[in-house]
Amino acid sequence: MVKTQENYVAARTVDEISVNAEWCKRCGLCVAYCPKRVFDQDAFGRVIAARVADCIGCELCERLCPDLAITLLPERAVAHG
């Protein structure tokens, strides 16, 4: 079941996706909702960013993660207005 966010914004170039295994609780939200199916879970539920090349930089995984375990790299510079 592939689900997509109604209005996600394709935003940035992502070279690498860091998943903090110490913080991740294996809830599966990133796996289920990434519009490009970038993530897999192994037999133990551990999250692997398996297809980083497919990532469109929508930032959904990074923001959905309840455990602040996902960081898209390079980190985005925030413009303060």
């Binding site: 689900k3 966010q5 109604e6 209005n7 996600y8 914004v9 110490e22 913080w23 609780k25 294996r26 809830c27 599966g28 939200l29 289920a32 909702y33 930032e59 959904l60 923001r63 959905l64 993660c65 309840p66 455990d67 602040l68 960081t71 980190e75 925030v78 303060h80």
Partner: protein, 277 residues
């Protein structure tokens, strides 16, 4: 400042269950604060008691973890003492509108400059799944084993009628919207309320045929609609998301300062023969 610089990393991984929506609200809040370019020293988080209230332990702002239902009373005190600081109150649905309902309506009526986030998981998470005034009819809870017969408050209508000058609602599925509303709410001068439908897989999902966080977010996606969208007219049964109120009205601390200045200018009011005191 990077998002991770706003948290107390030593307390991570946090205490919330796998898939708990409260973590997603924390995530969005940090990004809002970062987008506004606020420093940790100008932010105060005041929370009550509940799983939601635990947020105050994780942010590296000035923080107060107070009493169940009473966060807005403490927040009022902090804001009156230090009107220059930004105050954020994350409240659970029970915390905000059961035991804390009276504080909520009066803080809104005064239009004190506090940002209130109602983390609505429709249940008392911390104490094991009792229904709250936001559960609504037909919800199953430990205290409603044959389903709840209490209708729910509509947080948006309640906040609006009470006088809140910024009122918005979204869900933990709509993360970009969530960050945007929190940013607008924090920047707003006056009492702002952002209701966020947040998932509690452990106590709500488990009792209400929603097996995990993934399914609960799908529910938020299907059961809500953007305010003003064509679909919102076709489906009046769906809950509306959006900004419902954004207006200017005199803020409480400003009114208080103005009153103090006026009273000082008029003197102490005792008639001592016309001599200026």
């Amino acid at each position: 400042m990077a998002v991770q610089d706003y948290i107390r990393k030593r307390f991570f991984p946090h205490i919330w269950c796998a898939g708990c929506g409260h973590g997603t609200v924390l995530n969005a809040l940090l990004r809002s604060v970062e987008a506004l370019g606020l420093s940790k020293d100008e932010l105060v988080m005041v929370s009550g008691i509940g799983c939601s209230a635990r947020i105050s332990g994780y942010v590296d702002f000035h923080t107060l973890h107070t009493l169940h239902g009473r966060a807005l009373a403490f927040a009022t005190g902090v804001k009156m003492g230090r009107p220059d600081l930004k105050i954020i109150c994350p409240l659970g649905d029970g915390d905000a509108l059961a035991i804390g309902g009276n504080h909520f309506i009066h803080a809104a009526r005064r239009n004190i400059d506090v940002t209130t986030i109602v983390l609505n998981n429709q249940i008392y998470g911390m104490t094991g799944g009792q229904f709250s005034p936001l559960s609504g009819c037909d919800v199953n809870a430990t205290t409603a084993p044959y389903a709840n017969i209490d209708p729910a408050f509509d947080t948006v209508n309640l906040a609006t009628a009470s006088g809140a000058t910024f009122v918005a609602r979204t869900t933990t599925f709509h993360v970009h919207e969530l960050e945007k509303y929190l940013t607008r709410a924090i920047a707003h001068r006056g009492f702002s309320v952002v209701e966020v439908l947040s998932q509690c897989p452990t106590h709500f999902g488990r009792r209400n045929n929603q097996s995990d966080a993934v399914e609960m977010l799908d529910h938020f996606r299907q059961q809500t609609v953007a305010r003003g969208a064509k679909r919102s007219r076709e489906r009046p049964d769906l809950m509306q998301r959006g900004i419902f109120v954004e207006e200017e009205r005199p803020e409480y601390c400003e009114q208080y300062d103005a009153l103090v200045a006026k009273a000082s200018a008029a003197g102490n009011g005792t008639n001592n023969g016309g001599a200026a005191s």
